[in-house]
């Protein structure tokens, strides 16, 4: 056995030669790409379907706010307004027109980022979203930048050491973080790191709105840590199962039989083929972050988009609710689109076919596999 698997280090000259050839190959394929990217029609179709999804979502958001039993004109003018003034305001707001016309007007304004004025603070709702979105995006970036590499390398290492003691203990520990709801984790961390045991971090994120949240990292630590602990286990399990599946494949065995060093087999042969679930998993994570960040933001009073949504719901501030939910849902559609494009680009079989067929429900299946939110 040992002789079959013995490492064969190629001479240096040979290595540089293959590198040259590889460079030529990429240049060639690049030229081909510029001339005729075969997946371009697919991209067009995918963008159209994304747009259709966004349209249905906007209808849903609009319909949900129409279900509100109270009349906005009455809410604005207060209980002791005359019928005449209410009717005039209804006319001014366009509330007396057919519902389709109302939707068209609303959607047209929403496309330009104008959702009307917040009923609570008289600031344009789009403005509120833009202000708060930067903070939430900062949090998301920190979480993704830290969680994705940790989960990726952790998953690959655990897949290589499958069923070893490290693997079983890590997987058992990970269930703990996967199981606990976000706010339970958050309060646990507050108890541990900001009140009783090690009082070193602030429990409330009092971010100065005039500067970037990146310049005030103390306030980012606890929310980011909570989100990383909820999100990284999920991704790690995905990476691990994808890697295990790939490592069992025949071409990996073939690569080993050819005497290719194990490190090269793992990182050059197996990892690129395990990338698809990882990319889709990152898309799922971003969706989880958009929703899950809400509770974490509320716990830490982090001035993000989720906290703004919670406050708007308390006050029934319809324009702000519409603006935030629409932004989030369209953000998810965009993330899914990017993930699908990335999937096609990293999979040669899909990249070179004229009608790439992403298997339907890849994301839904992955969600089930990794145990969901």
């Amino acid at each position: 056995m040992a002789t079959i698997y013995s490492e064969q280090t190629p001479p240096a000259a040979q290595a540089s030669q293959t590198d040259d050839r590889a460079g030529e190959d990429t240049a060639h394929s690049l030229r081909q790409h510029l001339a005729l990217p075969t997946w371009l029609p697919w991209l067009g179709g995918r963008v159209l379907s994304g747009l259709a999804t966004a349209f249905v979502i906007s209808v849903l958001v609009f319909a949900a706010t129409q279900a509100l039993p109270s009349d906005p004109a009455r809410v604005i003018l207060g209980p002791d307004a005359t019928e005449d003034s209410i009717r005039i305001l209804q006319h001014q707001l366009g509330l007396d027109q057919p519902i389709l016309v109302q939707y068209a007007r609303w959607a047209g304004r929403a496309l330009t980022g104008e959702f009307g004025v917040s009923l609570d603070s008289n600031v344009p709702a789009g403005q509120i979203v833009a202000d708060r979105f930067a903070n939430s995006a900062a949090l998301m970036v920190v979480v993704l930048v830290l969680a994705v590499p940790i989960a990726f390398f952790g998953g690959v290492v655990l897949a290589i050491r499958r069923d070893s003691r490290v693997d079983t203990w890590t997987m058992n520990g990970i269930i703990l973080f996967k199981a606990l709801p976000g706010f339970v984790l958050a309060i646990g961390l507050i108890l541990l790191l900001s009140t009783t045991v090690f009082p070193i971090l602030p429990a409330v994120s009092l971010i100065d709105p005039s500067t970037s949240p990146f310049l005030q990292p103390v306030y980012l630590v606890l929310p980011a840590l909570t989100l990383i602990l909820t999100v990284a286990p999920f991704l790690l399990r995905l990476v691990r199962s994808a890697m295990i599946e790939t490592l069992e494949a025949d071409y990996v065995a073939a690569a080993r039989l050819r005497g290719i060093p194990e490190r090269r087999v793992v990182w050059h042969h197996a990892v690129p083929n395990a990338l698809v679930p990882v990319i889709q998993g990152i898309a799922l994570i971003s969706r989880m972050l958009l929703g899950g960040a809400l509770i974490v933001e509320v716990v830490f009073s982090y001035p993000g988009i989720g906290n703004a949504l919670n406050a708007a719901i308390e006050l029934r501030d319809v324009p702000v609710i519409q603006a935030i939910t629409l932004t989030m849902a369209v953000g998810v559609v965009l993330i899914n689109l990017l993930a699908d494009v990335a999937t096609v680009l990293v999979t040669p079989k899909l990249r070179t076919s004229s009608r790439p067929r992403l298997r339907a429900g890849t994301r839904a299946k992955l969600k089930l596999k990794a145990g969901g939110v």
Partner: protein, 303 residues
């Protein structure tokens, strides 16, 4: 099914999960009978610490935390069970129908699930709750609706796998009505993945509903509820941590227990063999490399 059960009994993870979830379940169901005081009575000092006559101290209004803890579990329990069962029922019906029906109906259903899956679950629930009100049954329904797309996808997938089997073809050829084929041929054969998914959904529902009641949706304030208790007493975390820690622990143990159970059930259901003592091929290889290195070093030192 019996083999699955016996395998579950032997799985330490399933036992641990059963112990956790079972304890919390019993505490929540029988707790109100054992509570020493009324969950609403103002019986002690605000944020009073645990001492004589009170196990966990008093909360922000001076109510007994232990009694409230024993009273506060039922809502999360029934809501999460109801939400996942409703989601399973609706999703299974639509999913099976989509799997059996014509191509364009199938496509429409799949596309519809895509649209719903683009909404983050919690945002969808909050949108509906904020517009229609925060009655418990409405929240249960909305949470169920947010779970339905996943069930539809699953039910459709497994139905497609079963429909092409010979025994379904045979039943069709024998002229059985469609409802008989669905009930007696298809449903029994897709029930295992659906029931496994029910367990997984239950864990999601617990996380989501406790989160919602923490945010203040669900049970109205004077009543006792774990999520609500956490939120109410959060301001006094430094003075009386037990008022927060106790409900957090209950939710945590329940979520952990159901997760452990659901995982071992789904593992038993999918019949993944636990490879005890067998190392993966990669691992074996690494061992081989290390051994070779060791031998080489030994040879070098000898020579």
């Amino acid at each position: 099914m019996t083999s699955t059960l016996s395998r579950l009994r032997g799985d330490p993870q399933a036992r641990l999960g059963f112990a956790f979830a079972g304890t919390v379940l019993v505490a929540a169901l029988l707790g109100p009978l054992a509570a020493p005081q009324s969950p609403l009575g103002l019986v002690g000092p605000t944020y009073g610490l645990p001492g004589a006559g009170t196990l966990l101290g008093y909360d922000y209004l001076g109510r007994d935390v232990w009694s409230r803890l024993l009273h506060g579990g039922r809502s999360v329990l029934w809501m999460s069970f109801a939400a996942s069962v409703i989601a399973l029922a609706i999703g299974a019906v639509i999913g099976i129908a989509a799997g059996l029906s014509k191509r364009w109906v199938d496509h429409a259903v799949v596309w519809g699930t895509d649209v719903l899956l683009a909404f983050p679950d919690l945002i969808l629930v909050l949108l509906v709750v904020s517009m229609l009100g925060r009655e418990p049954w409405l929240i249960v329904l909305t949470v169920a609706v947010s779970f339905v797309p996943g069930v539809i996808r699953l039910a459709r997938g497994v139905t497609l796998g079963v429909v092409s089997q010979e025994y379904v073809e045979a039943a069709k050829l024998m002229g059985y009505p469609w409802w008989r084929i669905v009930l007696l041929e298809i449903l029994p054969n897709i029930s295992t993945p659906l029931l496994v998914h029910l367990g997984i959904m239950l864990t999601w529902a617990i996380g989501m509903l406790s989160g919602l009641s923490f945010l203040g949706y669900g049970v109205a304030p004077p009543a006792a509820d774990w999520g609500l208790m956490i939120n109410e007493n959060r301001a006094g975390l430094m003075i009386q941590p037990w008022a927060v820690l106790a409900p957090v622990a209950m939710i945590g143990f329940f979520a952990l227990g159901t997760n452990l159970l659901a995982e071992s059930v789904s593992r038993a259901g999918s019949r993944i063999a636990v490879r005890k003592g067998v190392k993966s091929r990669a691992r074996t290889l690494m061992r081989g490399n290390k051994r070779r290195l060791r031998e080489q070093q030994a040879r070098e030192t000898r020579s």
